[in-house]
Symmetry: C2
Subunit: 410 residues, 2 copies
């Protein structure tokens, strides 16, 4: 059956002319199977970083409009080169900028949101039998100003195009061959998932998985666009992300274990236990643009409480300065922090219908003599902050206990 396939290739997949030729070959193979192909590409390798470096040699604080004008050239170079590489293989292809295919965005330069896509031009070229190549990461406002979509923008372009064109699948070609039950570098027995639901993928993304940014998954979920995460360098199928992957794994309670070592824990000791104090603390942190992840409050002695929270390690110094000032203002005691923590999470839509998953997780950690410092839960995930030294042990133990290890090894 003839399908419409949107393929996205990231910067490492098109880092140099030889890799671009490899991508051209893959695209042409898909086309020769009889499908219509729309390709979305990112800028070559570190091109975007080089352009940003140029801008910073001019000014430390470039205008966002001009910044987008500058960095959007990276993807324009990629699409032209990929079109040439496909022509070289004797197949018709045509490249477009975001502006040319009418990817209309709002005016939030550097992090614009797609408002509408005019698919007429792409559909005309597909009907002529051509492979259509679209510059990722970029769009244009109603006033014809060039915008970029922010981090992970090319993924977003691909998902949005797939939705607008009514495509059958949006292939994310990347440098890993799919979504794994855990990071294979941490858990050698990690298994590639054939299927995963949008919700699970979202939790994974926000809990530390680097495969796909949450933003494009949210978009895909909203419009029910099927995603196929696969390797640019292999022909094997990767992981399909769809609405309801549960049918494929009815007896699977959790689908993945993630580990995040990039957070630090901070505690403001002996905070006066008065209404409005917590709100005041987190308002000040938010004003400083510090992103707080987990929050725990422990009553220590009457009228006082210890308030702990985690932040990204890159914000540690700023947070420490801010927290010390807050502590003084609200007449709390000292501020202590711990960098040697890790957040271990288990994710799975299965836990909705399986009670006792949290208890089982705590039990497994306890049996491995791993102390739990903080806990937080969502509908389909449970996260624990533990000592960094025990992180790998915890990941492996949970992975095995929840039946995620490779079948062959069982």
């Amino acid at each position: 059956m003839k399908k419409l396939i949107v393929q996205k290739y990231g910067g490492t997949s098109v880092a140099d002319p030889s890799r671009i030729k490899n991508v051209a070959k893959r695209v042409v193979e898909t086309k020769k199977k009889g499908h219509n192909v729309v390709v979305v590409v990112s800028a070559l390798g570190d091109t975007t970083d080089k352009l940003i470096e140029l801008a910073h040699q001019i000014t430390e604080n470039p205008s966002e409009r001009e910044f987008d004008m500058l960095v959007s050239t990276g993807e324009q170079v990629s699409v032209a080169l990929l079109a040439m590489a496909i022509h070289k293989l004797g197949v018709e292809a045509i490249s477009f900028t975001g502006a040319q295919v009418g990817i209309i965005t709002d005016t939030a330069f550097t992090k614009a949101r797609i408002i509408n896509i005019n698919t007429k031009k792409i559909e005309e070229e597909l009907e002529k039998g051509k492979i259509v190549i679209v510059a990722g990461f970029q769009g244009i406002t109603m006033d014809q100003d060039i915008t970029t979509l922010g981090r992970g923008g090319s993924n977003l372009t691909a998902v949005a195009l797939c939705k607008a064109l009514g495509g059958d699948v949006c292939e994310m070609n990347t440098d890993v061959d799919g979504v794994y039950t855990a990071d294979p570098r941490v858990v050698p027995n990690a298994r590639k998932l054939d299927f995963i639901s949008y919700d699970e993928m979202l939790e994974m993304a926000s809990l530390g998985s680097q495969v796909l940014q949450a933003r494009s998954v949210i978009f895909a979920k909203k419009f029910n666009v099927p995603i196929h995460v696969r390797s640019s360098f292999s022909d094997k199928p990767g992981t399909f992300i769809t609405k309801e992957a549960k049918t494929m794994m009815e007896d699977v309670v959790i689908s993945g274990v993630t580990l995040n070592k990039n957070e630090a824990k901070m505690t403001i000791c002996d905070v006066p236990d008065k209404p409005g104090i917590a709100a005041r603390i987190f308002k000040v942190l938010a004003d400083e643009e510090i992103n707080v992840d987990m929050i725990i409050q422990n009553v220590s002695r009457t009228g006082f409480t210890d308030l702990s929270f985690t932040v990204s390690k890159s914000d540690l110094n700023k947070t420490l300065r801010t927290a010390k000032k807050i502590a003084q203002d609200i007449e709390a005691d000292k501020v202590i922090f711990d960098e040697d923590i890790a957040k271990i999470s288990i994710i799975g839509v299965g836990m909705k219908s399986h009670p006792g998953v949290a208890a089982r997780m705590f039990d497994i950690l306890a049996k491995n003599k791993i102390n739990i410092e903080m806990i937080s839960t969502s509908e389909i995930s449970i996260s624990c902050v533990i000592s960094k030294a025990k992180a790998e042990l915890a990941a492996k133990a949970l992975h095995t206990a929840f039946g995620l290890d490779k079948k062959e090894k069982k």
Copy 2:
């Protein structure tokens, strides 16, 4: 008086961030004098060459549409960086691609011709008090395909914008400080001209001067756009190119001496003197895309003639092969060639009203024992092919004899 000034800066003027900052300073100075300023910039230094190199790593024969898509990114980078540099000086500026300001061209990719310019957007931004920066060298077709204008395209953009906007002057900021009576590297006494006419500038460009390509001068002449050729690195006035510069130099017979050492002379000996033979020869050369410059025919013996012509040295081998084949076909004798020639030319609208200029030129060359091999004339120029070894001597002698040497030295 408030003027509208179009300033063009070439690739060497914006080769790196520090030079871009220098251009920003110059642009802002002009703006602060109370003028409206529209700036046209080329790609940074060797950016275009690097992009072409990338394309050639993919295919030796890239699609012209995709080629334009690729190389047009160079100017887009420049305009964004220049806008940032102007902002840094606290002055408002906005950058545009050729597409954004509606520089509409035909579909002759890599050498497109401007059909129309929609000035609305530029005028709106000028009215807001902004400096408007436009990417040179590029345009867009009615179908929204990106095109480039070919060699010297940024100059053409500047002249065309000046015409469309009704600008007062089109400043060509370059790495020389004006148009000289001769190449100062050859004739140390060469003098910068304050004024020159379009026609003279055109002859200079086609006879070897590198300052401006003929194409933008033809356009400027057609629409009577005043051009000011000046240095990017100095504040001194350069050379104004206008319709009629004669009034400024009534007793000046010639305004410049040019030298071209890039041609070779070829002679097909003993060509049968029959009607249609010359046409046949030059038709074959034209079919091979060999550009013939001067042509001379000498009757040597009854019924036969020696046919000499000059071609660019880069075409020498191809021309030799073709000429030998022609000679055989038309039953001529051998083909001989001479690479050691130079074409010396004198240019001046003054010669229209001064008879005997040619005779005086020949006399000066004769007095310097320089043999003339070929002669060609136009309404405002006379060119002689001489031995390359005598080229510098001829240039200096003519420059002095026609009164072009620096006033101070007289």
